[in-house]
Each structure stands twice: as structure tokens, then as C-alpha cells.
Amino acid sequence: MIGVVEALLLTPNEFVTYLLNGISRGMIIFLVASGLTLIFGLIGLINFAHGAMVALGGYLTIVTVGTTGSFWFGIAAGVLLVAVLGFVLEKTILHRLYDEPLLGFLGTFGIGLVIEQLLSFHFGDQSRSLESPFPGTIDLFGVAYPAHRIFVIVVGVTVALLVGALLSQTRFGLEIHATANKSATAEILGVDSGKVYTATFVLGSAFAALAGGLTAPITSMSPGIGTSYMLMAFLVIIVGGMGSFKGSFLVSMIVGQIMAFGWLFLEPTYVQMSIFVAAMVFILYKPRGFFGKPEVFE
């Protein structure tokens, strides 16, 4: 219990730093989870290719930055190319697999494997990193904090607000809700459910790529990097409540904080293990999570 003492002895500056670390970490998890929530929470597809999409987005960003020198161009290229890949995959293979959760899982699992292996084939197993367009630090609450992480936080909040608005304020949001809930009914109201599925998958994949691109300057890229984020994101979605966008945002933030402060008490691996244990308990006893309500998507 030395940790408790240490935690109590944190200076205000350290406290703020940990807090911000937790927020930026939570934002990355949220970005990964946001794409998954769309795909898993709404289409019901256990998309095991999502982690590979994160890694692919990260590598594409790194490569494009290497040739063009522009971080912005790199992020855009990563997001766009992964979105195109998502489109092609959905149109050719995945749309056939929605009816059977098992087939969807197996199919995306295979696709993810191929993407990850191609990445490690092409880039080797050693990790790559990237310089941020915001190299310095920013003074925040008296703490000099890395500017890139602040940038990540800003992007995360923006995405959260945009997707929240998309789901609750737009016609497309209505169509997503209708299709996710009962696609046969959506069809008799004139909604092209196939198109909604495609668009949702593409959007979700784009978020994965965005998460990958944003992480590249923080953590070095390796082909398997997305997988651990993806596993965490799956659990975040469950604890947050399937289909609840607010829920996955909130739980991402909580998990980020647990990871940021948890290591004062426990080794980081133990922190991760306890998060997973918590998720298992949720799966068994509260499968709808904190915020999930039947048939509600928000």
C-alpha cells in the first residue's frame, strides 16, 4: 500500500500531468472504440479487423508524412485510404456475413490477420515512430504538457461531439438507428439498409485510421499495436453499453484515468488485467453495460 502514500504525496503538478495523461490516453481508446461502437454496436458485427485498421492507418500516415513532409496530409491519406479499403471490404465480403455473428467475427478476424501480416512483411517487426506537428509543450494549469497530446484531446472531443450530433441530429443518424434496430422495418420506410451498413462500416474504419494516425507520434507503431487497443475498446463498449456512444466516451475516460493513476498502486499490467476482469464481470451480470438501453442508440 505504498501506492496510497505516493498518491497522497503527489504534487499538484504531477497530479495535473497524470490527469492529462489519462485524458489523452482515454481519447485514443475512445477513438478506437467510437469506430467499433458504430460497427459493433449498430451493425452487430464483431469487427476483429478494427485493430489492423488502426495499425494500417498509423503506417499509412507515417509513410505519407515521410514522402510529403506534411503531417496533415499524412493523416488525411491514412484516413482516406483506410476508408476506401473499408468500403471495398464491406461491398465485397463483409455485407454477406452480417446475419451470422460467428461468420462476421471469423471473416474480419482473417482480414485483420492478413492486414497485420502484410504490414509486418512490408515494414518489418521493428517499430516506427513519427514526429508530431506540435513538437513543444503547452502550459496548462501550471504544467508544461506535450502539445501533441493536447491536440489528441481536442480531436477526441471534436469527434465525440460530431458523432454525437450525427447520431442524434441528422437524418443519417435516424437511418442508422432504424437499420440497426430492425433493418426490415427501415426498408419499408424507404431506407436503403445496405447503404447504411456500408456507410457505417466505412465511417468506423475511418475513425480507426484516425486513431492510428494520431497515436503514431505518441507511441511507436508496430503491426500489432491496434490489437491491444481493439481489445480494450471492445470491453469499453460492453461496459459502456452496446450502442451507447455516450457510454463508450465516458468509460474510455474512466479507463484512461485508471491507467494513468493505477500504476501508482499496481504494475501497469495488473491495472490492465483488473480492467479486463471488470469487463468479464460486466459481460456476465450486466451485458448492457452502464448506459445501454434496449433499442436505444445515442
Binding site: 454477406r96 451470422e100 482473417g110 512483411f121
Partner: protein, 322 residues
């Protein structure tokens, strides 16, 4: 394509073609006399992976429990033997009952609640995934207990009377013996009343419940058997590589074994064994010419399978053995 694969499968599983099986077993038995030693070592692993695939098929194909924890149980077996030999300096043979007991107890603890509560397929996948990650993390982090990232080395199989099991060929026969016994035993089990109940429950669980069968108990039993056999496969396997390390518990191995089962035909018993055997030989072959190629080939093959004959795979998964 579809028809071709199905007829091939039928051909392989057809009773009239048993002689192929007999021939295969004979070939395995005479292999060390006609082959180089290093290849015998490779075949040893292939046979063990065949058993591993069958064990996973019992959960996935016969019972419909889609598990992402096979590597965890495989690892539990490997670590049990390694722990006994390396850390406690006890008999190699003691490792096996321990592997069986630990796997059975853990499988019971993990499987009881989700099976009783009948959580949905999707949740079972995620539940076992979380368990797999926890076990993997555990081997990494408990350095004093499991050796951390270095694992537990070196496991050397002992003398068995005058035979030195640490040598490749004797260990090959030892592996064949264990795998053979288990495969025959499991085959008989699945042909027995228990197998028929499992099969019927897979077809129509509600009806079986009305008929008075405790389908949850049957499922739980199948789950424990599956985990235990996975563990035994891991326990034998550690003798071939000499070290139990976290890499055995990696998600990659779970992925591979699921691919073997699905490509071989879930619920066909023989299919997963053959797929595991052939594909792990392919892995070794490709390993020498194109190291990264194996998983790419495997992944593409797998996606192609799911894409080309989803009905075939699903049919197998849903109906169990025909």
C-alpha cells in the same frame, strides 16, 4: 468449388475410405525410419497441433461455444509441466496430472457462469477473449511464478526405462502414443450417447431441454473436456521446444487453431486434425523460404473459405457431424 470441397471432405470422412486413415497412421509409424530427424521433429509438432485442433473443435464445432481462449489452455498445459520440472525439480510425469487438473478447474471456473447464464455467442467470444488476455498478461507479469517474458526453461523429457525421451525420435513416438490414445478416446466419446446428446442439443437445444436433458451440464462438460485436452496438447508440446513462454499464450495461436478448425470443417473431427497437420507442416516449409508468408497465406485461405462457402462452414458449425 463448394461442391468440390464438400465432396473431398465427404471422401475423406467416408467410412469406405478408412484405409486412407490406416495408411496415414502407418506412414506416421514408419516415418522415423525413412526420414531425417529434423523432419520427425516437425511432424511431432504437427501431430500435437492436430490434437489441439480436435480439442478446440469439441467446443467450437460440437458444442457451439466460440472460444478465444484455446491458447490460454494450451499454455496452461505447457506451463504446468515446465513448472513442475524446472522450478520444483519434480518428475516430468507429475506435470501431466497437474496440467489436467489445473485446466479442468480453470475451465470449470471460467465456463460455469457464462454457460449457466446462457450469455449470447457474441458475449461468449468477448468473455473468453478477455480471459485469454488476462492469462497472457499473467504469465508476463508474475515473473517469480512463471518466469515472466523469459518463460520457464529448460524442460527436458526424462528417461523412460532405457529410452531417452529427450531425443527426437523417442519423443515422436511418445507424442504419437498420447495423441493416438486421446484421439481414439475422444472419437469414441463423440460416437457414444454423450456425443449424440451433444449433437442433438446443437440441433435443437430447447427440444432437448423439454426431453429432460440438462443441456447446460452437457455443454459445460464438453467445455471442460475441450480445455483439458488443449492443456494436454500443450503439456506434450512443451517437451518439443523445451521452454514454456508467454508466446504460447499469444492470441496468434488462438487465431491459428480457429483457422485450422474452420478450414478443416468444424464439427467433423478428422477435418481439423488434417488441417492443423497439413497447415503446420506448410508453416515449417514456408518458414524457410518466406518467413512472413505463412500467416498471410493462412489468412487469405481463411477469408477465401469464409467467402466461398459460408453455408458449408455454418452448416458444419450448426449441425455438428453429419
Amino acid at each position: 468449388m463448394n461442391a468440390h470441397v464438400n465432396s473431398l471432405r465427404q471422401y475423406l470422412t467416408d467410412g469406405n475410405n478408412r484405409w486412407i486413415g490406416v495408411l496415414f497412421v502407418l506412414a506416421l509409424l514408419v516415418l522415423p525410419m525413412v526420414s531425417q530427424e529434423y523432419f520427425v521433429g516437425i511432424v511431432t509438432k504437427a501431430v500435437i497441433f492436430g490434437l489441439f485442433a480436435i480439442s478446440v473443435d469439441i467446443a467450437l464445432g460440437y458444442t457451439g461455444l466460440i472460444t478465444l481462449a484455446p491458447a490460454a489452455f494450451f499454455g496452461i498445459g505447457a506451463y504446468s509441466v515446465a513448472k513442475v520440472v524446472v522450478d520444483y525439480d519434480a518428475s516430468y510425469w507429475l506435470g501431466f496430472p497437474i496440467a489436467i487438473i489445473v485446466a479442468a478447474v480453470v475451465a470449470f471456473l471460467i465456463g460455469y457462469v457464462p454457460i449457466k447464464r446462457r450469455i449470447g455467442e457474441v458475449y461468449f467470444v468477448l468473455f473468453t477473449m478477455a480471459f485469454g488476455v488476462i492469462v497472457y498478461d499473467f504469465t508476463f507479469v508474475t515473473t517469480s511464478f512463471t518466469g515472466g517474458s523469459n518463460g520457464l526453461a529448460y524442460v527436458s523429457p526424462p528417461m523412460f526405462f532405457t529410452i531417452n525421451l529427450a531425443e527426437t525420435v523417442p519423443f515422436y513416438y511418445f507424442s504419437l502414443f498420447v495423441v493416438g490414445i486421446l484421439v481414439v478416446g475422444l472419437y469414441l466419446l463423440l460416437r457414444s450417447d454423450y456425443g449424440r446428446i451433444l449433437h442433438a442439443s446443437r440441433q435443437n437445444e430447447v427440444r432437448m431441454r423439454y426431453l429432460g436433458y440438462d443441456t447446460d451440464r452437457e455443454k459445460l462438460l464438453a467445455w471442460i473436456i475441450s480445455a483439458t485436452v488443449s492443456s494436454i496438447a500443450g503439456a506434450v508440446y512443451v517437451g518439443t521446444i523445451g521452454v514454456a513462454s508467454p508466446s504460447l499464450m499469444e492470441f496468434a495461436l488462438t487465431g491459428e487453431v480457429i483457422i485450422w478448425v474452420v478450414v478443416g470443417g468444424a464439427g467433423t473431427f478428422v477435418g481439423p486434425f488434417i488441417a492443423a497437420f497439413v497447415l503446420s507442416l506448410l508453416e515449417n516449409y514456408l518458414g524457410s523460404v518466406w518467413a512472413e508468408g505463412y500467416l498471410i497465406v493462412l489468412g487469405v485461405l481463411f477469408v477465401a473459405f469464409i467467402f466461398l462457402l459460408p453455408e458449408g462452414i455454418m452448416g458444419r458449425l450448426q449441425q455438428g457431424e453429419d
